[in-house]
């Protein structure tokens, strides 16, 4: 095992896949000469040259559409969003073109493309720069959505995403780029898309959490363990397709579920999970499912307000005790 930062794991994945396949290229704002706005692509221009590491003007609609066309014409683009907040400028390319062209062409054209970049809130950036977009994109058939919570998943899943023949939205996090963690040094390390990870086994309550909410879940599980309760933590890793089987199997064991989701709550990941769980495991639930989400407001700027906006560890902890009826 090597210890890598999250950004280094992403870079390793892209580098390995670009070495493996000439058709893969990286395009986005500041990815080349600036070495990446968050230094994810640092050194890649030097290694691969300007044909394959390509700076763009601030023109998301244009270069995302370019990526779709390049993918239709046999290439495998990685399109970097400085953050997914800016993907909304290009949402037409993602939802109408990337996701639908295979279907509308009766399978004649595939669109093997990865859109990747930071997603979710990252502090006092106010409303336009703090969006958790995974709920929005996960509603669209034709797209895959991946939200790795740690460097190991970031590497293994990004390699899978680049090899995938579908459009994949790969959502990272500004506040996790510097996070260090063990990353498998197995040669050609691949994690399959659509498989959840049971991060911690337990028997009393299931906590489901993706991306940086996963780390809240792990802290809550530690606190509960200290008090003698055993929480099972599941990181779905992929939002679409969702590994609902793993979640349901866990709930059949624990009979209780708390979901931590950084999205705004209405029609979100947590609401979809809640529906699917009740559909498949209604008789196994001993308590209503509780979800802890961002507040149902645009993200505010003020320090106390943005902290309050985010899913709270304390709320998640109390929710677990509530569903276990031990409050």
């Amino acid at each position: 095992m090597a210890i890598l930062q999250y950004r280094e794991a992403l870079r390793a994945a892209m580098t390995e896949e670009m070495e493996r396949d000439e058709r893969v290229f990286l395009m986005g704002e500041e990815v080349a000469e600036y070495n990446g706005a968050y230094k994810v692509s640092e050194g890649m221009l030097e290694k691969f040259g300007p044909k394959r590491i390509i700076d763009t003007p601030i023109s998301e609609n244009g270069f995302c559409g370019l990526g779709v066309g390049a993918a239709m014409n046999g290439l495998r683009p990685i399109i970097e969003f400085m953050t997914f907040n800016f993907s909304f400028v290009a949402i037409d390319q993602i939802i109408n073109n990337a996701a639908k062209i295979r279907y509308m062409s009766g399978g004649q054209f595939k669109v093997p493309i990865v859109f990747r970049g930071a997603n979710g809130a990252a502090g006092q950036l106010a409303a336009t720069h703090n969006t958790s977009t995974e709920s929005i994109y996960s509603t669209v058939p034709g797209l895959k959505v991946i939200t790795p919570s740690n460097p190991d998943d970031a590497k293994g899943l990004l390699k899978s995403a680049i090899r995938d023949d579908n459009p994949v939205l790969f959502m990272e996090s500004e506040v996790m780029f510097g996070m260090k963690g063990e990353v498998s040094d197995a040669e050609d390390y691949i994690i399959p898309i659509g498989k959840a990870r049971i991060a911690r086994e337990g028997t009393d309550v299931t906590i489901v959490a993706h991306s940086k909410s996963y780390w809240i879940a792990m802290k809550v599980a530690e606190r509960l363990e200290y008090e003698g309760y055993s929480a099972e933590v599941i990181d779905p890793r992929t939002i679409r397709p969702l590994d609902i089987d793993t979640i349901v199997e866990s709930i059949k064991k624990t009979n209780r579920c708390v979901i931590i989701d950084e999205s705004n709550p209405f029609a979100s990941i947590s609401s979809e999970m809640t529906y699917q769980i009740q559909e498949r495991a209604f008789d196994h639930l001993d308590a209503p499912i509780v979800r802890i989400t961002a507040k149902d407001v645009p993200a505010p700027y003020a320090k106390n307000l943005i902290e309050y906006y985010m899913p709270q560890e304390e709320d998640a902890y109390q929710a677990c005790k509530r569903v276990m009826y031990v409050q």
Binding site: F25, S59, F63, V68, G69, L75, M104, S105, F109, P141
Partner: protein, 382 residues
């Protein structure tokens, strides 16, 4: 050559040179802003009647092939309109009638299979010009599995990977950056191919067009952006929608060559395309305005109150098929009887396509889940 003069603007020069030059100028003058700026730009023009088939290196057989191809588009769409009336075709149906010289002129000028074409929803003409069969076109509109997109796309979404037709796209302007990406793919793979992206005058107001133009310029891609200016975006005349209705002028903003073409003359289109495809093969992107006219409404539900009957009648004298027919007879390439025989043959082919579409089965309900993803087990109901 048309000339454009306007101010203020900067001198036309390659970006890097321009920066150096203006720096030198400002140093000499001791300031950044000169007293006056002006711009003179030369545009290539391709007027009707200027080019013969020999100017385009076309044989007489090829000319007759073009005539047949344009007639095929015309008769196919006339029949499609009838089938729409009989409710065999549903959804939106946008006819290309009047614009056939553009699709045929283009298809004649490119290497079909190597080169790529992408267009908007008025796509039947481009499909048939590139060699898509009327059968798969008609069956697609009938919503049958024999259609080019297996009945999943309909009239607005014709695709043919084999012929290099990358769609058939329903969102105005959104396919133009995709077209530039196809060109990017050609350059990256060194395939020698070029990509031509067609859009209507209505799309000119979309930001996507302008982002695409900028990207093809800055990356020097083998791309041609072509606005088929039929003068009406649905019911809105270009004069009510755009500050600059001379769309060719947009090429100036993106530092690429521009041209204006009469789209009612198939040889003007063919010559323009030959010239601009040659530039694209050297990774010199261009923008082209082709002036044309659609004789039918925007779609089947269009009462056409935005234009006068007189205007429509006057434009009918410019019909590109009638023009080509006159050219063929005038140049004694063949006689009236032979042209009538071509028409009869085309009509039969179109009728056969209706029969094919009728007899092609509707998709199985299970096909609804096919081709959403690459994987066959969607919707992953394990």
């Amino acid at each position: 050559m048309a000339k454009l003069t306007r101010k203020p603007a900067t001198k036309k020069a390659p970006a890097k040179k321009r920066a150096t030059k203006s720096q030198a100028d400002s140093d000499a003058q001791g300031g950044v802003i000169p007293d006056k700026l002006s711009l003179t730009v030369d545009f290539a023009t391709y007027p009707a009647g200027k080019y013969s088939h020999t100017d385009c290196d076309l044989s007489e057989d090829q000319v007759l092939g073009m005539y047949r191809n344009m007639l095929l588009q015309r008769r196919f769409e006339e029949r499609a309109a009838q089938m729409y009336g009989k409710q065999k075709i549903a959804g939106f149906l946008h006819l290309y009638i009047g614009q056939e010289a553009i699709s045929t002129g283009t298809a004649t000028a490119i290497n079909i299979g190597q080169d790529s074409v992408i267009t908007a929803y008025r796509d039947h003409g481009h499909g048939l010009a590139l060699g898509m069969s009327p059968n798969e076109g008609m069956a697609e509109m009938f919503g049958k599995v024999g259609g080019c997109s297996r009945g999943k796309g309909g009239s607005m979404h014709f695709f043919s990977k084999e012929k290099g037709l990358f769609g058939g796209h329903g969102i105005v302007g959104a396919h133009v950056p995709v077209g530039v990406g196809i060109a990017f793919g050609h350059k990256y793979k060194e395939s020698g191919g070029v990509a031509i992206a067609f859009y209507g005058d209505g799309a000119v107001g979309q930001g996507a067009i302008h982002e695409a133009a900028n990207l093809m310029s800055v990356y020097e891609l083998p791309a041609i952006l072509v606005v088929e200016n039929n003068q009406y975006a649905m019911g809105t005349s270009i004069h009510r929608a755009f500050g600059q209705t001379e769309f060719s002028h947009h090429s100036v903003a993106y530092d690429v060559k521009g041209a204006v073409v009469d789209g009612m003359d198939v040889f003007a289109v063919c010559k323009a395309m030959q010239d601009h495809v040659a530039l694209a093969r050297e990774n010199k992107p261009t923008m082209m305005e082709i002036r044309t006219y659609r004789y039918r409404g925007h779609s089947m539900s269009d009462p056409q109150k935005y234009r006068t009957k007189e205007e429509l009648e006057s434009k009918k004298n410019e019909d590109p098929i009638i023009r080509l027919k006159a050219y063929i007879l005038e140049n004694k390439i063949t006689n009236d009887d032979a042209l009538d025989a071509i028409d009869d043959d085309v009509k039969k082919e179109v009728m056969a396509s209706v029969e094919f579409a009728e007899n092609s089965p509707a998709p199985e309900l299970s096909e609804i889940y096919d081709n959403v993803y690459d994987e066959a087990d969607y919707p992953y109901l394990s």
